[in-house]
Structures are given as C-alpha cells and as structure tokens.
C-alpha cells in the first residue's frame, strides 16, 4: 500500500523530473558530447571524436573573442541602466497610493511582448526616413539619426530598445522586494532621526540585498544570452559592432552548420554564466 505522501510524491514529483530530464538534462548532455565531435548538420549522426579541438578553436576565433567583448559591454551597460532605472521607478511606485495598479499595468506591458515582436516594432519606429521617431525629433528641431544603420549609434540603439523591453522585469522584482520589507526597521530609523537618504542607504538597501542580487543576476544571465533582438534589429551589423556571442553561436550552427563547434561555444558561454552566478550567490551570502 502506498502512503498518502508516497502517492503525492509519485504524482507530482516523478512527472516533473521526467520532463526535466527529457527537456533539459538530455539536450545538455547531448550537446556536451557533441562539443567533442566534428558533428555537423550536413552529415548523418555525430561525426568523429576530436577531443578538445573545438575548445581550442574557440580561443583562436577572433570573431568569437570580439563578440564576447561586445557582449560584456552590452551586458554591463544594459544591466546597470535597467537596475538604476528599475529601482527608481519601483521606489516611486511603492510610495504612491493612488493609481498604482494603473501605472503598474502600463509599465508591465512591454515585458509581455516577445523579443522578436519588440525588434520588429522598433525597426519600424526607428526607420530613419519613414519612422516616427525621427519625425518626432524633427518636430522639436533635433536632427534624426540613422540609428541601426550607423556604426556609432547601432549599439546605443540596441541598448535603448533592450532597456525599454526589460526594465519592467526589474521593476516587477524590485517592487515585490520593496513591498515585502518589514515596517519596524523604518520606524526605528525614524526614531533615531535618520533622514530619507540615510534611511534608504542604511535600511532599504541592506534589506533589499537578496532581492537585488536575484534581479541583477537574472538580468545579467538573460542579457548575456541576448539573441532575438540582435537578430531582428541588426544581424550583428553595421560591420561587427553589435555582434554578440549568442548570435555568433547561432551562425556557427545554422549558417556554417557546424554543430560540434557551436556546442563547444555554447558550453564556454554556459561556464561563464555559471561562474557569474556563483560569484553573485557568494556576494549575496557574504554579509547578509
């Protein structure tokens, strides 16, 4: 006879583990094996085992190294700006009493749009000749830019679009953190005569630390993997100014059909993301 607990375990736990094994663990292992082979979409089966050749090639690939650097810059800029902007908006939203839900609903909308749609919409808006953005700018006497067609502006433009799309995520997480803060420390701070800035610095931030680490970590990981936006907006151009790692990997797999090498690249990316996560977790546990 199965106990009630056992039954629950079987019904809820086993299917989800099976599903995870099938959709996450299996592809992960498969691509790990693949990264040590000369596998290609052009040949049947796995290709031959070639040891660490793919991994050695990764660090000799000048385009990969450049795209890695571009990705780092992109990630640092978008996460910093999105965090600052998200925090400010979250604090403002936390303070107002009327219309909070209305603001919140409006702000959350971009997050519900898929990245490809976001890219396509912004491509239309940013069209230098026919788009509405340059038209609006011309109304107030500012000369429009070529945006995605200008090597100097392309990265900035992609960053702006990404901020538009991803800030709601930051706001959502940070606001959730703010709402759940205890009231007592604030009362204590008030009694001790702390001003607003001091309260923010010494009470809010330390209490929010865990939330902030999670929010920033999530964004760093997703920003590192950014692919759809680049694919739709610039295809890595002009030149190679916006070519990020994920797009580079995509091309190795689907243009050059070199799935073995692409798997190796993916694993390097995965390692970097894992290391970043470890650092973040350490930081959050450090002094909290």
């Amino acid at each position: 006879m199965l106990s009630q607990k056992r039954k629950q375990f079987l019904i809820f736990f086993v299917p989800s583990v099976l599903l995870l094994l099938l959709t996450v663990v299996y592809p992960l292992l498969y691509s790990l094996v693949m990264s040590f082979t000369s596998s290609s979409l052009k040949i049947k089966g796995m290709g031959s085992f070639i040891g660490f050749d793919n991994y050695i090639r990764v660090f000799k690939d000048a385009y990969f190294l450049k795209s890695a650097w571009t990705t780092v810059i992109f990630t640092v800029i978008v996460v910093t700006l999105e965090f600052l902007f998200g925090l400010i908006v979250a604090i403002l939203l936390n303070r107002i009493t009327y219309g909070k839900k209305v603001f919140f609903t409006i702000i959350i909308v971009p997050m519900l749009i898929t990245p490809v749609a976001v890219g396509l919409i912004w491509r239309l808006l940013l069209h230098p000749d026919l788009g509405i953005i340059n038209y609006m700018l011309s109304l107030v006497g500012i000369e429009g830019q070529a945006w995605l067609g200008d090597a100097k502006w392309a990265m900035i433009t992609v960053v702006l679009v990404d901020i538009w799309h991803q800030v709601p995520f930051m706001i959502l997480l940070l606001l959730a953190g703010l709402v759940s803060l205890p009231v007592e420390p604030y009362e204590a701070a008030e009694i001790d005569g702390a001003n607003r800035l001091q309260t923010f610095w010494n009470v809010t931030l330390p209490l929010m630390k865990a939330t902030i680490v999670v929010a920033v970590l999530f964004r760093v990981i997703t920003a590192f993997k950014t692919y759809d936006l680049i694919y739709v907006l610039t295809k890595g151009g002009p030149g190679t100014t916006t070519e990020v790692i994920s797009y580079h990997i995509y091309k190795q797999a689907y243009t050059f059909l070199d799935t073995g090498y692409a798997s190796a690249l993916s694993y390097v990316l995965l390692l970097v993301v894992l290391m970043l996560s470890a650092v973040f977790v350490k930081v959050s546990r450090g002094k909290a």
């Binding site: 979409l41 052009k42 040949i43 049947k44 839900k101 919140f104 959350i108 997050m111 519900l112 898929t114 491509r123 069209h127 230098p128 000749d129 026919l130 429009g144 830019q145 070529a146 945006w147 995605l148 067609g149 200008d150 090597a151 392309a154 959502l172 606001l175 959730a176 709402v179 759940s180 610039t234 295809k235 890595g236 151009g237 002009p238 030149g239 190679t240 100014t241 091309k251 689907y254 243009t255 050059f256 059909l257």
Partner: protein, 434 residues
C-alpha cells in the same frame, strides 16, 4: 497589497510560459500531416512570396484532376534553410517536394539530398530545352544531371522612376553641371554620379537611390550587382578568389560612395522591406532589386508610385541572377506522386497561367507568348536581364560565402575597414571554403 502583486507575477509568468509553448507547437504542426500509403496528400515547403500564392491558387485544379491534395507550407525565407536541412538529413522527409534557392543548390546536390530527375524526364518526354539557359544552368542541372526544374526567376535589375529621370528641370541642370545628358546610365560610375546629383538637388525629398546594407544577404546580393557589372567576380577561372582585384575594389568604392552620398541616411541598416518602403513611398529615384518588384511597385494598393516605375538592366549590364527550383527530396515518400505534381505545375499551360497572374517565368515559350507579352510588355527587358545576368557560384558553402561577404562589406560601408582590407579578408576566408 502583497496579494495583487503576487497574482500579477503569477499571471505574467503563466502568460510568458504559454506564449512560449504556443510558438513551439506551431513549428511542429507542419510535419505530421502525412501518413498512410498511396499518397493522397503532397506536402511542399515554400517561401511566402507572390509566386507561391499564385501556385496556391492553381492547386485546386490539380486535386480535381488527380485526386491528390496538395498542402503548401509557406514560411519566411529566413526560416527555410534551417527547416529544410534537418528534414533532408533524416531518413524520411515530411516534404514531398521542396523549392530550392539557387544558393543552396551546391550544398543540397553535393550532399546528395535531391533526387535526380533525368529518368522521369526521359520517360515522360518532358522538354527541358524550353527553359532559359541561365535559369536551367542555375536551378536545373548541375554537372549534367538534372536535379530541379526552374520555378521562378528573381534576377536583379535597375528599377527606376520614369518621372524623375525625365524631369526637364533636373535634366537641364545635369547638362549644365556635367555637360552630358541625364539618362538611364550604362555604367556604374555614371549611375552613382546621377544618383548623387539627384540627392544633392532634392535633399531628403528624393534620394538618387535607395540601398539595403543589412548583413548578410541584402548587402551581399546588392553589391554583387556592382561587382559583376564592374567586370569582377568572386572566383577566377582557376578557382582562386579574385574578389579583391582592381574591379572588386572599384565596385566596393562606388558602392560606398553611393551609400554615403546618395542613399537615405541609415541605408547601411536597411533590409529589403525598409528599402522597398522608401521607394514605394516615392522617396527614391532608383533601386537595384529583383525584377518582379516592378509589378508590386506598379500596383496601386502597395505603392504610391504606381504607374511611374520602369525597369532597366543594372548599369554596367551584368546583374545578379537568382531563382528557385522545384526539387524532390531523395528521402521523399512517394516520388512518383511528387513528379506528377512537378510535371503538371511546370507544364506550359499552367506555367503560362501563373505568368498571367504575375508570376515570374522561367520558360522561353512563356516569355514569348503573345498573351503574356500583351499583359507585360516589359518582359522583353526582363528576359534580356536574365540572359545577361550571372549567378552566385554553385558551391556547397554558398550560404557561408554570403555570410562572410556580408560581414566584410558591412565593415567597409560602416568605416571599420578600407575596401581593400575588407575584400582581402573575404578572399582569404572564401579560399578555404571552396
């Protein structure tokens, strides 16, 4: 307070998850339709373009004649290659017929993914000599074996605004400044000169030409017109890259000059749609593009410049040829049924009917047909364009070639490299491809 936030988070997460699932399922839907023996339904993967829509209108007739239903899955170009390759590698394919872009031909045939059609052709006495030679050499036979029947052409050409090139004011000013008549140019130098002149005269109301500089395909295919028309080529006769010789560098310098000094700001980031829209809105005087765009641009529901547009050869005379071919995958289930449809859709009557509805012909007899010519007088010019055009070399790494070329051209246009450096890099990297 906390509750509503919680529920919002929950809803957001669910919606995101569901939308992801939704898009995932759609991908799968196409494949599973075929089952059972004695094919009652043919599945075809095609690109969502006007010629495909025309084929869709014809298939009811085929089903009526033969009792075989035809299911066409039309997808965007960018999704086609990655959808096709895994299907072709498998032991069986869910597609009974496919259409092959000319720059996949080398890859598909050298991998042995396409069924040779010669035995079908001989048995049923299907005449392949009716096809334009440049089309049949590109999306018909490879090294003497027929793998495809040419479906439609998309050779590139110069599409221009008649009213701008005939504008008396512009013409007299041009005469005064350069001492020669402003007319449809014969050389690229003259083309770029006129193009810059129009932009200088008209400012942002009318650009001399609109261009598409997005990586990788738009910029590559556009620039190859410049390369071929300057007398250059990608590989020389001995198979070594010659793309970085004098003609190549001249072609790229002219291209950059036109991009920076005549085309609309931001052209370096334009894909096909953005460039097309500028022209269709009436803001550009010329556009090097696919010849079948003329019909679209002269259609009032799609363009503001309907009736003012005409077609000519690309200045310099040699444009980039392009086309699609019908092919039967080697792993198709019932090749006899596939061939039945292929033979039917490419027969003179159906090919003519498709042409009359605006399809781009590949057969000489359709081009020469009185009804077709009566409706589309400019097909005389189109046939000349196709005859004199040149294709992307048939090598199995053509998609990679386009990727490399696109990246380096974009580098040169955006000022990251000089023309020579960019083309030297292309030459070095494409040498390893062949």
């Amino acid at each position: 307070m906390k509750k509503w936030l919680c529920s919002v988070v929950a809803i957001v997460m669910t919606v995101t998850l569901l939308s992801a699932c939704g898009s995932g399922n759609k991908e799968e839907a196409g494949g599973s339709a075929s089952s059972g023996s004695g094919k009652k339904q043919l599945n075809i993967l095609m690109e969502s373009v006007p010629d495909t829509d025309i084929v869709k209108k014809e298939i009811a007739k085929f089903t009526k004649e033969t009792g075989i239903a035809v299911n066409i899955e039309a997808v965007n170009y960018s999704a086609m290659h990655e959808k096709l390759v895994p299907q072709l590698v498998n032991s069986s394919s869910s597609y009974d017929l496919i259409v092959v872009d000319n720059y996949w031909v080398g890859e598909f045939t050298s991998a042995g993914w396409l069924e040779p059609l010669d035995t079908f052709i001989q048995r049923d006495k299907f005449d392949t000599s009716v096809y334009l030679k440049s089309m049949f050499d590109m999306v018909g036979q490879v090294d003497g074996t027929t793998y495809m029947l040419p479906f439609y052409n998309y050779a590139m050409s110069l599409i221009y605004r008649k009213d701008v090139f005939e504008d008396a004011d512009l013409k007299s000013k041009y005469q005064a400044e350069f001492g020669r008549e402003m007319k449809i140019p014969d050389t690229l130098e003259e083309y770029v000169n006129i193009s810059k002149f129009i932009t200088k005269q008209k400012g942002d109301k009318m650009y001399g030409s609109v261009m598409m500089g997005l990586r990788p395909d738009p910029i590559s295919v556009e620039w190859l017109n410049y390369l071929y028309s300057s007398g250059g080529d990608i590989y020389g006769k001995d198979g070594k890259p010659v793309i970085n010789n004098e003609s190549g560098i001249k072609a790229l310098d002219l291209y950059i000059d036109n991009m920076n000094n005549a085309a609309p700001k931001g052209s370096a980031g334009f894909g096909f749609d953005e460039a097309f829209n500028v022209f269709a809105q009436g803001n550009a005087a010329s556009f090097i593009t696919y010849n079948w765009m003329l019909a679209k641009l002269n259609n009032e529901s799609e363009s503001k410049v309907a009736g003012k547009v005409d077609i000519a050869s690309v200045p310099g005379g040699t444009s980039l040829n392009g086309g699609w071919g019908w092919a039967i995958p080697k792993n198709a289930e019932d090749k006899e049924a596939s061939w039945k449809f292929l033979k039917w859709i490419e027969s003179f009557d159906i090919a003519k009917d498709r042409a009359l509805q605006g399809g781009s012909p590949t057969r000489k007899d359709v081009f020469a047909d009185d009804d077709v010519l009566g409706q589309y007088q400019y097909y005389v010019k189109v046939q000349k364009v196709i005859d004199e055009s040149r294709m992307i070399p048939i090598i199995s790494e053509a998609p990679q070639l386009i990727e490399i070329l696109g990246r380096e051209l974009s580098e040169a246009v955006s000022g990251g490299k000089t023309s020579k450096d960019a083309l030297d890099t292309v030459a070095k990297e494409v040498q390893d491809l062949k």
